[in-house]
């Protein structure tokens, strides 16, 4: 696959942004408009040079995501009733069960998807949001990379919700074994959705703005 070199609209030495040229770019299709245009003429979506309410929405969704993540860990995710006993397991409890049964790989997948990724995401989004107003350790390139990773990986947390859905549908064997979903499944699904919305609310152009030298 050959690579086409983009032709920079600024000088060769320094890239220039649409905003510094008094233009507004569409964040969906890339079309450039005169400053003050409110709607993209190519794709018809609303446009703004920088999303002014971006940070507010990021923090609001992030907070909501963290709040519902608490009951997701405290309450049971799965309720199992077999011939001999009943069992309620939380997210972490389920991971421990899998580990004790010797399914290390699957235990690791569930642990990463339901604990490491959500908590990592909370921290990463907070770090990115803070980095827009303040000077932080990572430069714009690294923070943009982090943003891409967060956007890509966040959806995968939903895996545990699907596992619960499949198990509850599958294991309905009368008195032998029955699996039902617990309330934590709902709050966990909400937590994943809220943090996805939080990441989507972050306008990545803000990450690069601080990087730019004053014009």
């Amino acid at each position: 696959m050959s690579v086409h070199d983009m032709e920079v609209a600024g000088t060769r030495a320094r890239l220039t942004t649409a905003r510094s040229q008094g233009l507004v770019a569409c964040h969906r299709c890339g079309r450039v408009h005169a400053a003050g245009t409110g709607r993209c003429t190519r794709c018809g979506g609303a446009i703004e040079s920088r999303d002014a309410a971006s940070l507010q929405r990021v923090w609001a969704w992030l907070l909501a995501g963290i709040v519902v993540y608490i009951p997701a860990n405290v309450y049971p995710m799965l309720r199992t009733a077999t011939l001999l006993d009943r069992d309620e397991s939380t997210i972490v409890g389920g991971v421990i069960d899998l580990f004790q049964h010797g399914s290390y790989a699957v235990a690791a997948i569930v642990f990463i998807a339901s604990v490491v990724i959500p908590i990592g995401k909370f921290l990463a989004i907070a770090y990115l949001a803070l980095g827009i107003r303040r000077t932080v350790v990572m430069n714009a390139h690294q923070r943009h990379r982090l943003f891409e990773v967060v956007e890509f990986i966040g959806r995968w947390s939903m895996i545990d919700v699907f596992v619960v859905a499949i198990l509850s549908a599958l294991v309905q064997l009368g008195s032998v074994a029955i699996i039902n979903p617990g309330i934590a499944a709902v709050s966990f699904a909400l937590s994943v959705a809220f943090t996805m919305l939080s990441a989507q609310s972050l306008d990545p152009r803000l990450i690069w703005d601080a990087d730019e030298e004053p014009v």
Partner: protein
């Protein structure tokens, strides 16, 4: 930076030299619109985001892959995808059953979410993409509101989670393996195929080309 600034205010997207501009949607870096050939890829010099990647026969490829995906989806939803047997009891589950498993009480919102994420949103996206691309492939005028449909398809992209569901199935299998003997049904393979087809379909689309031709054909 003043190379392009002169006299641009009134003509907006066209430079003094008469060349159209495009900005990177992720980092706002300004470029001249690429004169790009098929099978080439243009990415942003600053953040690396792919700006344009036209492919030969892209519209036809996208269309056929979308239709393939719809057919596979129908099979994946209605056929059983897992069979379970324990102590003489047998249970076959289709994706539809997995969705309906939550259809009572507090769990209703969850069952709606699962239905949306693995069936309804992927289907909506496929329909919107076919609606957008079909006239373009035949070199006709786009259907009414094609831009809105394609915006919808792009907006729903992160919420289409069929590929995550497949991994969920594998984890669920390991969890019940000790409890009963399980086997894959035809829908599992349909679903696995669907995931591959949807990745191919996604890669065959060049957003830049589609937006450009929507704009040109409309004018």
């Amino acid at each position: 930076m003043s190379d392009v600034a002169t006299g641009m205010q009134d003509t907006a997207e066209v430079t003094a030299a008469g060349r159209a501009l495009i900005a990177c949607p992720q980092c706002d870096t300004l470029y001249f619109e690429p004169e790009i050939r098929e099978e080439q890829t243009a990415s942003c010099l600053r953040c690396g985001r792919v700006l344009a990647a036209p492919r030969t026969n892209a519209y036809l490829r996208t269309l056929s892959l979308s239709l393939t995906a719809v057919i596979l989806m129908i099979g994946a939803v209605f056929f059983p995808f897992i069979e379970l047997e324990a102590a003489g009891l047998r249970n076959r589950t289709s994706v539809l059953d997995a969705i309906l498993a939550f259809s009572s009480g507090l769990m209703l919102p969850l069952s709606l979410a699962v239905a949306l994420l693995i069936v309804l949103i992927p289907l909506t996206r496929l329909a919107a993409i076919v609606y957008t691309i079909y006239p373009l492939a035949r070199r006709r005028r786009p259907f009414a509101h094609a831009a809105t449909a394609f915006r919808l398809a792009e907006g729903l992209r992160p919420w289409s989670m069929a590929e995550i569901f497949i991994f969920g199935v594998s984890v669920a299998l390991v969890k019940v393996a000790g409890l009963a003997s399980v086997s894959f049904g035809p829908a599992f393979w349909a679903f696995a195929g669907l995931v591959v087809v949807m990745v191919l379909q996604d890669n065959s689309m060049c957003r830049y080309t589609i937006w450009k031709s929507l704009e040109q054909e409309r004018a």
